[in-house]
Symmetry: D2
């Protein structure tokens, strides 16, 4: 697909995700890490306006000078910004204005893309499209959080393909030795995947399939949330402070475990991959099983033999730079490198990840406490 | 006006206030004490559904069983409720549904009001209408807070009649002696105004007119916010913690003081009554002037000779029961009595108060720290 | 007693209170409103050094220039100060140094008092002695808090005379009319008691005796802490947030109510006056009884016919200025006036109040939430 | 040295460190991560009482049953414990009692050590001694924090040997290849160092010497704390929230940088190794230099050619398990494994580390935000 078609396809998909929403759903922010859908739509647009149009189109008229303040996320180099906890207080710009903003920028981008694009700008546009795809996944997880925390548990016409979980408990084995990880080749990747390099791994085994909700319920039923010995100290504090009893979106109703999905409150399906568990829960489950989580290197080496794509899989690797990593200069350099502390790496991809966005070298990362992404568990030993 | 016309008039006025809003404006809650406009519209409706229709219409079908949870405010006797800080996270029920809810309840009320109404129920309906009028004022102040804290400073077509402030500094004097305060007579009043009783007052003088923005600016310019000696200890803490420099909605732009109004960011008008000051600021201003705030008894005695109706005027009286006050039994008893600690009395009425709602015995009350109502200052000595 | 003897007597009594403490007990601050005993000893000394010696003795050498910073409490006019929550982090000045400081200042005061004292300075010294007596009561309540929150429940050789509680339920009645309250006459009083003035009271009855622990336990046993209808809204929040079940220092051990006293953990004595209840609890108890708390005016009028001196008695009066009240100029003006918001008046005196310190016009005041003083309940109707 | 002599030597050193303290200094806790010296003395003793004497001496009489509650730190398996933020509120047990407790346990240990010790118990005693040595370092850093945050800046007779910093900027180089890290051999080590294993490293260079205070001041003078581009996102938040301007204990007095040491407030010595910087600061400094922090594997491989022992050196490695790591069963298993999330590894040892306690495989770890240990910087590239 040429760049102009890619641009149109990706941009259209963001609107597709939001199709079933009511205007009110676009506005709220029930926790700090969730952003209002309206904001995601504006922020991804701001990326193209700021880094492509303003930087390359000499007579470009900014849609609104206030929008840099409202829609910048964390790019310090790009100026002041609304603090994250305030996004849910902004009724304006209205949804109509945000849609108008998208249209305005898309039209300017169409004109720009019809011309000759220098290679560096081309790369930046591809980055912008991958950035928008990341926000498409966040749109889905944030919408789920917004509706799933509403006491009316609204449904939404947004199907996520859970496929089929083959849960045989089968392992794949790898011998000790030198392996290579990291991205290589032609296609797009983020800077944090680059610099393919050697790692030395001990013998390891890794499960072909993800942990199911049925297995996780067994852990819960055997007192997993009451036994400190399975948990990190921080994880145990999290359990007690939040009186955690199970994954996010699980509710015990009349003695039965239900979970919120876009189809409303449903019985927990035992043969689905468990989702919405944080790193503490994933680690505690593994400890209870007498196993452990894989490292990201193990995961990448084994990936061709694994089923994957249903859940972002917690690894036991902290998010750190690959050997030789350097931040790019300027605002784009803030994309990844500055988050390389106190985050854990997740590998794979999920039912909410746009088709073709992830790959086996992809390094997703979140703080250990988060549950609201489609995060699951794969075991190793 | 008969009850059915009163009902229609009052209910229609709530919608009138919201006419210029966008759907998004109905949803957000930028501070705990502010409620989303959508919530005010639902809550006032819930009052009639719960206390009139459910209690008196045997075959009444509740619009939605979830709404008691969502729209109850603080009536413990009426069941569980959404905590106040969560109201701004609720995108559903949607605005459409809330309007439908109003329509549904209004139709049921119309049928009910066409029949014979027992006197006690009649009183409760009148209470419900006065309750809705209180929320009409809150609608205006909360909308102002929502728009006034948006970085785009949106305008709204909602005119408030500031009238003319006569600011001659003239005083009215009263001799020492026994006076009577409290409500008497036929019309509606709240339970906290009842029990007309004698009070003994010393000689006092009270200003006929409110303090102007120009006078208040003089206080600011003479270092009012830097001199602890004018402030209560709690007030001084408030100043320092919030780095307060002036009333709410005042912004210094290029050396000039501007204020947010529904017409957008405007130059401060010197001959308008100062507004959006809290009790700490009102007291500090009075101390700087070498005067004091009136007590609520003084205010009520003098009221016939005062201009009033532009601002809720801070008094130096704490909100406490009148001699002989008893809470009514049941949920309605929670209306006033349970707030009688740590609040100050405000008297008068404001540009945002519905016509005919206030009266000279009316006891409004807020915590000393609040600024977001149309609160002003009158001096006594 | 002449001033020099008064000075010696009062100053010696502070040390007497601390006699049984260990050095470690002087240092800690388990909640913000409690101060370390060491700090009380230093602060009361700092008062005499700053307001008497530095102001009146031309060649006076300050003991340590750092002490103004450490031992100033809230006198903004007297310079910067250690914030209250930090007092418990200061291991230095050591206890020895504080005792040395007391000795140094006492010696300078002895010399000064041997000379001719101008009347205004004489008044300030008397104020300083009354100030120290207030801190003597705080010393006792703060020591009780420190030891009573230690898991070892240490005993202390500090007897408080509980006397005998006559608990007949007998009332004293007063007819409607004009009464006078406020201090008059020769002796010392605080500025907040001055300006004797007329008040108009309705008929009222007030109990001769305080509420006993037995009566209060009955309230607890009948679900007093589970029924919102007896409580102020704020009080009910306090109950739920703190999971309050009874007065401070009460612990249920093996089904029996025990209370911490300086004699250790003891069975609750049913015929003692209830203590360590806050305003919310006192009000809820009164509501449960179908009565109310007296106003401070009622209390003062009735005081000659009441038993009192065992507990500081919560009134239903907010702490506000008497008609005509003006703050004194300078630091001493900060003594009382600046606290006149969001506090309730307590009348009487307690087992921890130094002999001769209180009187019937005395206005003690605390925030409604506090329990750690010897606070009790008297009913009116 | 035999075990009994080792025991006596280590135990005596804890008391030696505290020699110059006043009783008051033993009690306070000015931040959550600091513990009162009294608590360290009790806690290290509780370790021997609980895990050695109670477990192995059949007729052992516990010194006080309350002490398990007071002196347990984080061993969930060993029962309830005082939460960390409350340790500074405990005036009892008094220092005398803690010393008595040490004496009592030491006497029981002397008797026990005179007998035949099973090998597993022997190992546990050695662990206990290493545990006490870790607390000896904490004693020094916590005492420094307590005195260094006192407005009087007290001095203490506790010399730390800063040695000589050779600061030539010289690098040591290592070629790409397979290396081995982890403990091997006979001597004591912690479980987190075990399981010597292969790692694959790229070419790297590492500085022989630590970064000096002079170099760090250059970073500060060139706006290091004002330029977000050198910082992790979390680090930049930390800078802004704390208005950080330099290392802990540095104060700008009359334009000159001073630092608190046990000798009081002193001019910053330019040729000393910089200390009391957190991971954010160390990383920002490295980014400013265009270099990076070493990984823990690089550090360990290079260690024989580095000067070290003055500072705990931040690495860019997260604290994670070595391949094959398993937690030991029971309370001792809580020693290390449960902290393996959200902490960074520090290598080396410091002026406060007891002689002989550290080694080149030693893995110290702290959260990225902490400054209060003697933490320094070594650069790599």
């Amino acid at each position: 697909m040429n760049l102009i078609d890619q641009y149109k396809t990706v941009r259209a998909h963001s609107l597709k995700i939001c199709e079933g929403l009511k205007t009110e759903d676009y506005v709220v922010q029930p926790m700090e890490d969730v952003s209002p859908p309206k904001w995601h739509l504006g922020h991804t647009t701001w990326f193209f306006e700021t880094f492509i149009l303003m930087a390359n189109v000499s007579d470009y008229q900014v849609f609104s000078t206030d929008y840099n303040f409202v829609f910048n996320s964390y790019y310090e180099a790009a100026g002041a910004r609304v603090i994250r906890t305030d996004r849910g207080n902004l009724s304006r710009p209205s949804l109509d204005q945000v849609y108008e903003y998208r249209k305005y920028v898309d039209e300017a981008m169409a004109i720009f893309l019809a011309g000759k694009i220098p290679s560096a700008v081309n790369d930046l546009i591809v980055l912008g499209l991958n950035h928008e795809q990341q926000h498409q996944e966040l749109l889905i997880t944030d919408i789920k959080f917004i509706l799933g925390h509403n006491p009316l548990f609204p449904t939404l016409n947004l199907a996520l393909d859970e496929g089929e979980l083959l849960n045989s408990g089968e392992f794949v084995s790898f011998p000790e030795g030198i392996y290579e990880i990291g991205h290589t080749g032609e296609g797009f990747c983020f800077d944090n995947e680059l610099l393919r390099h050697k790692v030395y791994l001990n013998d390891f085994k890794i499960q072909k399939h993800l942990v199911s909700q049925g297995e996780y319920l067994e852990f819960m039923n055997e007192g997993g949330y009451e036994k400190f010995e399975f948990w990190h100290a921080e994880g145990w504090d999290w359990v007690k402070r939040n009186q955690a009893k199970g994954p996010l979106y699980w509710h015990q109703v009349d003695g039965e475990w239900m979970q919120y999905t876009f189809a409303g409150l449903q019985k927990v399906k035992m043969d689905q991959a468990v989702s919405h568990v944080n790193f503490y829960e994933a680690s505690a489950f593994a400890a209870w099983k007498g196993m452990r989580l894989p490292t990201e290197a193990e995961w990448e080496i084994a990936s061709d033999q694994l089923d994957w794509g249903l859940r972002w899989e917690w690894t036991n690797s902290a998010y750190l730079p690959y050997p030789g990593f350097c931040k790019a200069p300027g605002a784009i350099g803030e994309y990844n490198g500055k988050f390389m502390v106190n985050q854990m790496v997740l590998r794979g991809g999920s039912v909410a990840t746009p088709k073709g966005h992830s790959r086996k070298t992809y390094r997703n990362f979140f703080h250990a406490k988060h549950q609201w992404q489609f995060m699951g568990i794969r075991l190793a030993e």
